[in-house]
Symmetry: D2
Subunit: 337 residues, 4 copies
């Protein structure tokens, strides 16, 4: 870490900073420049925030050098994490394709979706039972009833299930029925929920917050791992920008970036990112080419009658075609499907 | 609402859209343009989302005309809402100044802060007992112990108290000890929490999400009001942009904008928005000039030793000077303090 | 276009809007809603801006339906544009790979780069002679001398050349020596320059502005085409967001989006977008998978000694490997290289 | 400056970085951490960019400590700059209020505007003769004819004039007729234009780019000052964010921030920032309270018939009321009007 002092800072200010740092085990080196004094310090980045050195008189700014995350970083764990659930291995050579409706709406709808997912060759089924909706007047989900249907679909098809949890109560329920707990974009920094997910020990699909930096996202993963649960799957789903033509801006550079910074697997959700059915296929292709370990695709037996996210949902036929298109691409980047 | 059809859309597509709309009580008007057919529809905006018309074949886009919020809108309730707690009236002519430390750290720290707040002439005390922190390695708050200290400070000083709740459990606790429940920026779309806050009936200080639009923010307020709790205070606290010199970008235009769209009171938090002590005073002045009903200011007895947000916390002396500077300004814009 | 009137708007306001619209040849339809009156109008979108209806009393907002661009749109010209220069066809099945140094620094540096580009199998050479730099203290380019070296490199290697112009004077010069004129991100809305580029008749590589919407970008292309020059190549190079780990955020969804809205070819620049050498290859792969017609890659004979953009420049060896990796991928998406 | 080496960097890499730095007169200090080696260097920040150290093998990142701008910085020139033109002193205690139409449309329109500006007590007149417009189909300005009308208006009313220049040609013309040359948001990084404005010696009103950081903005000012012209007036006019309700987001925190970083005067344009007439007054008030040295206000004799920016233009009556409202506020913050 580097502490930059203000031009008018005096020797006593420099000494105060040094004493604070040495008190928590940092080694410090003072550098006297023409305009400014700079204090370089070597130690554990994780204690910096609790120091809050920028509050000290004479301090202009603090520049961290090390990354703030540790358990999620590749520096600490070099080999990539592979998460095994039933016959699925997320982070391995074979791409993990998760598909299904935005929301579980009925038994028929879900079963039809599940069989379509399996038929197309995917191995994971998604479906929302607890729906965070911007408007209180929108459909809010089937809750436990939806979870039970997912469990039934899994039994019938052998698919691994993914469903979103929105608080500790829904998490309690979901872990009884579901294989992978999804934490949605709006809850990426719901730290109580992250800790609960950490304690559950279940694999967690952690979506990137709508305007989260990659660093904040990995810090959220750190919360889960710090509770003893290393099974975190990151999911890039688009960030908020000024561009109005797409619902969000899919940040695919986050894929190789995260691969370099962290050992965790990362998948991509082109459906929520773009909000447009026509863009799902090209962005799914791009995600795989960028090195994603899998995809999260919205598919509905009848998109025109979907209770949510119909505009971006693929029909079973469109999803099957997507899977076909992915095969040669996956091979070209040395992945399988 | 206006539904824009794709150039290649056929008559059957237009009829399908019309039947969907008339089925939920909309009146429709079809307009045949040179390139496109457009369907204008008159009805309740709140049902649009559940229709998801953009999922229909032949539909290019749906352009809503009415605002999606109702209970929070000035169209529904013209007179401005004033929230009375003890001798405080938020939204009235007198500005509501809330001050105190980011986190409750100890009895001494809080009591010292409380007396400093009162001495300077402010009537509301803030202090965090449950701290959402980006890093799992940062101080997480005193929890119930902190709430008790806030209640004690209130009894000793007569100040109205504000503290953040992060989930239903902390909300349960807080409403026993605190006057105003704060919902923080990371939880603005934690819909479970919004509903619980609505049910509590307690006044709610709703901070704007880090990248929430004004519309999403008012929709979050709608969640609370829809549960029968009209006592919502909005708080602008800066939005995320690309500018690195300030922690966030304070969006003061949101103040007059919200005043026009909604009847709810709105206050401004210049401390979190800027993250820099030197910018707190000028931005506090600007907020009042823009028409804010109050301010949320971080003040710590000893900023250099604060466990969080020290860099942006004012000392008691700086806060007292801020209050002095605000008086003539408030008078100039026909407010009092 | 739809004109939404304010709730309190009177009949005279509605009539004023209608008369303005009919005066410029729009057909209007008035729709009386519960809360608001809405006027739907059918006509040429391009005249809307000059009307400025939102300035009229009683008007709340104007919602355009048609796109504001015409000559650049696929609605006007269905078949994709292919631009032929020597043996290169930009927008055809074969990918157009442009590579070379950020700046022309010397004869040796450029010739070495040119031969490396050709050896790797690319057909277009880039090199900056006029450098827009954020700091007045940075290297500003070799100007005409650099253009002459590019012309010489083209003669020696047969490569098609691309170089940036920054004003009418540099454009005058460049068109004497260069095959494709590049308009950089900072000049995307330098309308004088766009018109001059239109008049020149030369193929123009139009980079997306740092925070330009896709619509503004296509409007900039419209400026060039409107001067009678249809040879516009769009180049996505990343947009500005809050994410600090990458220099910009590469918006790959713009590729299929532009392909749907416009007939113009679009290429991608992963070097400037990411600012990180390690991310260039994966993002180049992703761009091709997303449907880009080509790539713009920074390559320098000795990146460690480059006068600009060294951190993101590939070495000749790295570039050759990139070309190798692209081949199977291109085949998988039915393109060639 | 601090150079952070990669974990795997070797001694030879460290030595290479040191030799590069010492070669340009930096003093270096190597700090060996647990995971990384860090090199702190003291010297002239302005040469860093030309070094491009991040391109060197073994270098992870370079963290600048000093600001990249020098001539524009308060560290170099402590006392605030005051720019005197006729009886106006921009940056002095008296606020500089600039008002007038977006575009000069006719002799009658401009003279009517000029008299209204003077009548209301403002001393500077704005009017666009060269209009950068997003659409090639929008009104593009009266060019030299408009400049002549501004000069005439100045003679008749004694007002100081401000008008935008868009390239060297328009700058040549404008300096014959106009007192202050405006460089618009789209040209903030048109470096050729900045240098020409620097050479002209005329006062320059430099608007912040649509997505420019404060640092980039001050670097643009540095371009002008570096040519020997210290008369730069900065103008905050809103930045691009995701919020759709306002045209841009007015970043008022930039006002005190710039006041701390630079000695240059700064004014605020609430008209372009908000794009909404109703928000101009509150944001103008807020700007003055935040410490702005002046305002740039769009005023049109007949906003409903303005050829551009009518929706945000005030009528002469509204402008007069704004001036009245500003008086007590200015007094409250120890400014005059």
């Amino acid at each position: 870490m580097v502490v930059v002092m203000q031009p008018q800072a005096g020797e006593e200010h420099v000494l105060e900073v040094e004493s604070r740092l040495t008190a928590v085990g940092f080694r410090t080196h003072v550098i006297y420049g023409v305009k400014r004094t700079v204090i370089a310090a070597v130690g554990d980045r994780r204690v910096i925030e609790s120091l809050d050195l920028e509050a000290l008189p004479g301090v202009e700014k603090v520049v961290p050098i090390m990354k703030p995350f540790k358990l999620a970083s590749r520096e600490v764990k070099e080999e990539s994490t592979v998460i095994k659930i039933k016959d699925v291995a997320i982070g391995a050579k074979e791409l993990s394709i998760i598909a299904g409706p935005c929301a579980v709406e009925s038994r028929d709808q879900l079963m039809e979706a599940a069989y379509a997912v399996r038929r197309a060759g995917a191995k994971l089924l998604r479906g929302g039972a607890f729906k965070p909706r911007t408007s209180p007047y929108s459909f809010q989900g089937m809750e436990e009833e939806g979870l039970k249907l997912l469990a039934e679909a899994s039994e019938l098809t052998g698919l691994v299930t993914v469903s979103e949890v929105v608080d500790e109560e829904s998490l309690e329920l979901a872990q009884k029925y579901i294989d992978i707990l999804q934490i949605g974009t709006r809850n990426m920094q719901n730290f109580r929920l992250l800790k609960a997910a950490g304690k559950s020990g279940k694999p967690v699909l952690l979506k990137r917050g709508l305007s989260a930096t990659v660093e904040e996202w990995l810090m959220a993963a750190e919360y889960i791992i710090a509770e003893g649960n290393p099974n975190v799957i990151l999911c890039e789903r688009g960030i908020r920008t000024y561009e109005p033509y797409t619902r969000n801006t899919l940040d695919l550079s986050a894929v190789p970036l995260v691969k370099g910074l962290s050992h965790l697997p990362i998948i991509v959700d082109p459906s929520h990112a773009t909000g447009k059915r026509d863009l799902v296929l090209p962005m799914a292709m791009a995600a795989v080419a960028a090195g994603a370990d899998g995809l999260l695709i919205e598919m509905h037996p009848d998109p025109a009658r979907a209770l949510c996210d119909g505009p971006q949902s693929l029909s079973p036929g469109e999803f099957a075609r997507l899977m076909e298109r992915l095969k040669p691409l996956a091979a070209a980047v040395n992945r399988s499907i």
